[in-house]
């Protein structure tokens, strides 16, 4: 099992070289690892987000292939997508020294609305005898974050942001605040959504399709100076602009930006939707200045 923080891990945990740095509103953060899984768009890795040309082949999400057999049964698709993306991101990473200083922040607007509506409809038809008690955790809006904390041994802050379609951006803001306020040294930020009939009912049939997938960024307090001015500061094309990213947005943009500066160097400007207090319109992602 891949662990963010393994209780059995040696106390002198190794350090992980940052892939990039992002200047969050309240604190600079080092990006230690990323992942993106968007099966319907053919995205297996963050690098796949950069290749706009060609037609990526959709793939079938097989949770067993990425997660093994254990702890998969009864979990909803959003939870499995998030678990799989985190397993990819954290694979081979040195664990943090103190699990109580690690946090997980999940953004999802629609992850559990399918379960909620299905259960309510089954009760309306046939009463509570018709529903499965195994759906109890799945009906809770924090099911994804709780499942991640359990699988990856995170015993610090576990937070679920359900704040509308900019929730992924807000999750990054809160990750920065956890680092700035000293609540956590590492924050696993996850955006995840999956389509459902209930979600389409909420958004309307004319709305752009909801993105199906998860994006992950492991953030940490930088150990040295976070770089600022890159050679260039460019704004990348929006990721998955023809779909509604909802809670995946922001995290996915950061993952793509980290891939871009990793490939091309320099710096990338992220444009957040709808500035509001505490969330500026644009953030900068820097690659390794060396």
């Amino acid at each position: 099992m891949t662990t963010l923080d393994t209780r059995d891990a040696p106390v002198a945990a190794g350090t992980t070289a940052p892939r990039a740095w992002v200047h969050l509103p309240d604190a600079p953060a080092a990006v230690l690892a990323t992942a993106a899984l968007l099966p319907g768009r053919g995205v297996h890795t963050p690098a796949d987000l950069l290749d706009a040309g060609g037609t990526p082949a959709p793939w079938d999400f097989d949770p067993h292939a990425l997660l093994g057999r254990k702890g998969v049964r009864y979990k909803d698709r959003a939870t499995l997508l998030a678990l799989a993306a985190c397993a990819v991101a954290l694979d081979g990473l040195a664990p943090a020294a103190d699990a109580t200083r690690s946090a997980v922040v999940v953004a999802s607007c629609y992850g559990n609305v399918g379960t909620v509506c299905d259960v309510a409809a089954a009760i309306e038809r046939d009463g509570t005898g018709a529903i499965s008690p195994m759906d109890l955790p799945n009906a809770s809006s924090n099911v994804v974050a709780a499942a991640l904390a359990i699988r990856f041994g995170v015993t610090g802050v576990c937070l679920s942001v359900c704040n509308g379609h900019a929730s992924g951006w807000d999750a990054l803001v809160w990750a920065g605040r956890l680092l700035a306020a000293g609540r956590a040294d590492r924050v696993l930020v996850v955006g995840v959504e999956t389509p459902s009939a209930a979600e389409r009912h909420v958004r309307g049939t004319a709305a752009a399709p909801l993105l199906d997938g998860a994006a992950v960024a492991l953030l940490a307090r930088p150990e040295g100076d976070a770089p600022t001015a890159g050679r260039t500061t460019r704004t990348p094309a929006p990721v998955a602009a023809d779909a509604e990213a909802a809670g995946v947005g922001g995290v996915l943009d950061l993952v793509a930006a980290v891939a871009a500066v990793g490939r091309d160097g320099g710096a990338v400007r992220l444009d957040a939707p709808g500035a509001r207090p505490g969330r500026p319109a644009a953030w900068t992602v820097h690659g390794d200045p060396s």
């Binding site: 909620v116 309306e124 009906a139 809770s140 924090n142 679920s160 509308g164 770089p227 001015a229 400007r269």
Partner: protein, 422 residues
């Protein structure tokens, strides 16, 4: 965005944790609207248990809950969670003298968001079903969080956290962080109302539906949901010279939220871990700079379920040993108000520190063996010393939040209206 060329400073060491002055509070639940009414109801030993109102009792094993009785007709109505939240936030803001919430962060903790309204919208999406049940229920993406409903109070920086049954106390911890990062004032809110899906799933896991919620009782049979909201305005508690105390409204006394410890068991999707609970309680004491002997009263989570009450009782007993403080548990009166419950307990704990009075644990007859070491009042208790309160809130996924409140200065004017036993 301006990209500067100056070297960016290394992330500063974590700021000294700030404390938050409780500048205003608000609360509502099945037994009382407003902080004063709700606390008086608890002291009077009333509870909000009643036959199901918004849900069709024929479809569930349990026929009772602790709902707020605000529906006129025979059908459930949408938007109740947002309305209850707005009322509690308004009460707190007015008590704090805040005219508008523009520019003030509002952190809302909820377990179930406005999902009852979504259920109604989904169940009435066909014209025939809607016609039978009171009309269709429009529901859009922005109904899944509480930003829009708080806009009427001027709020423009609302954050909705869905952190199960510890949500609102979790939000209080994040609010302290914002104070530490320099925000002068932060509003915390919490709310939940019954949803069919959660009430039904809890019903499904009960072998024998409970007839009422009995915190820490030997014969407890499980949880029954309740409805409620709470809110607190926190302002940065100034660092004071020794020998002086912060004041609220010139009364010479004030209550300060010293610390909120946040953690996660990382143990089980729905079952609690006594070790994780104990760790969070100890972390709260450490962060507040107190020891177990300093705690005068505990507002327990106390859901009346077999596992949760046992885990909490074990953890409290490990922490306090033979010196258990008086331990209140309001859910026997209010039902389990889910994500709103932690902040509701905190608001009631502030009243206990103000009055010295601790309400009896409604529904408790015979304490469970694991709770034998707790001092669970069966009548209203007047504390000899009411300076420090601990407030617990735990949620699905092992989400733990424990707060420490401290009263500075003297108590409110004595309340002699309630019979008291020592």
């Amino acid at each position: 965005m301006t990209v500067t060329t100056a070297p960016h400073p290394v992330a500063a060491p974590a700021p000294v944790a700030a404390a938050g002055l409780l500048a205003g509070t608000g609360a509502t639940c099945s037994v009382g609207r407003g902080v004063a009414d709700a606390f008086a109801a608890l002291l009077d030993g009333r509870d909000g248990l009643a036959p199901l109102r918004g849900l069709d009792a024929r479809r569930y094993g349990a026929g009772h809950a602790y709902e707020i009785d605000d529906r006129a007709g025979g059908h459930d109505v949408p938007g109740r969670a947002g309305a209850l939240l707005a009322a509690a936030v308004r009460e707190a803001a007015e008590a704090a003298g805040l005219g508008s919430l523009a520019g003030v962060p509002v952190l809302v903790g909820t377990g179930l968001r406005e999902l009852r309204s979504l259920e109604l919208s989904w169940l009435r999406r066909d014209a025939d079903a809607a016609a039978d049940a009171g009309g269709p229920v429009p529901f859009g993406p922005d109904d899944l969080h509480f930003g829009p409903v708080l806009r009427e109070l001027g709020a423009d920086d609302v954050h909705t956290f869905s952190n199960a049954c510890s949500a609102s106390l979790y939000a209080a911890g994040l609010a302290l962080d914002l104070l530490a990062l320099g925000h002068p004032a932060v509003v915390v809110g919490g709310v939940d109302v019954l949803t069919s899906s959660m009430f039904g799933l809890l019903d499904r896991v009960h072998l024998d539906p409970p007839e009422r919620l009995r915190p820490f009782d030997a014969a407890r049979r499980g949880v029954l949901m309740g409805e409620g909201a709470a809110a607190v305005v926190l302002t940065r508690a100034p660092a004071l010279p020794p020998g002086t105390t912060p004041t609220r409204s010139g009364t010479g006394s004030a209550t300060v939220l010293r610390a909120v410890a946040l953690g996660c068991d990382a143990y089980h999707a729905t079952a609690p871990d006594p070790l994780g609970v104990e760790r969070t309680i100890r972390a709260a004491h450490t962060a507040a700079g107190i020891g177990p002997r300093d705690v005068d009263v505990v507002y327990a989570h106390g859901t009346g379920t077999l596992l949760n009450d046992e885990a909490e009782a074990v953890a409290l007993t490990r922490v306090f040993g033979a010196h258990a403080p008086v331990t209140a548990a309001v859910k026997g009166a209010t039902g389990h108000t889910s994500g709103g419950s932690g902040l509701f307990s905190l608001v009631m704990a502030e009243r206990t520190l103000g009055t010295g009075l601790v309400p009896a644990v409604r529904g408790l007859r015979e304490p469970a063996p694991a709770a034998a070491g707790l001092r669970l009042p069966t009548r209203t208790v007047r504390l000899g010393r009411a300076r420090v309160a601990q407030v617990d809130a735990f949620g699905f996924g092992g989400l733990n939040a424990v707060a420490v409140l401290e009263r500075t200065g003297g108590p409110d004017a004595p309340d002699d209206a309630h019979e008291v036993t020592a």
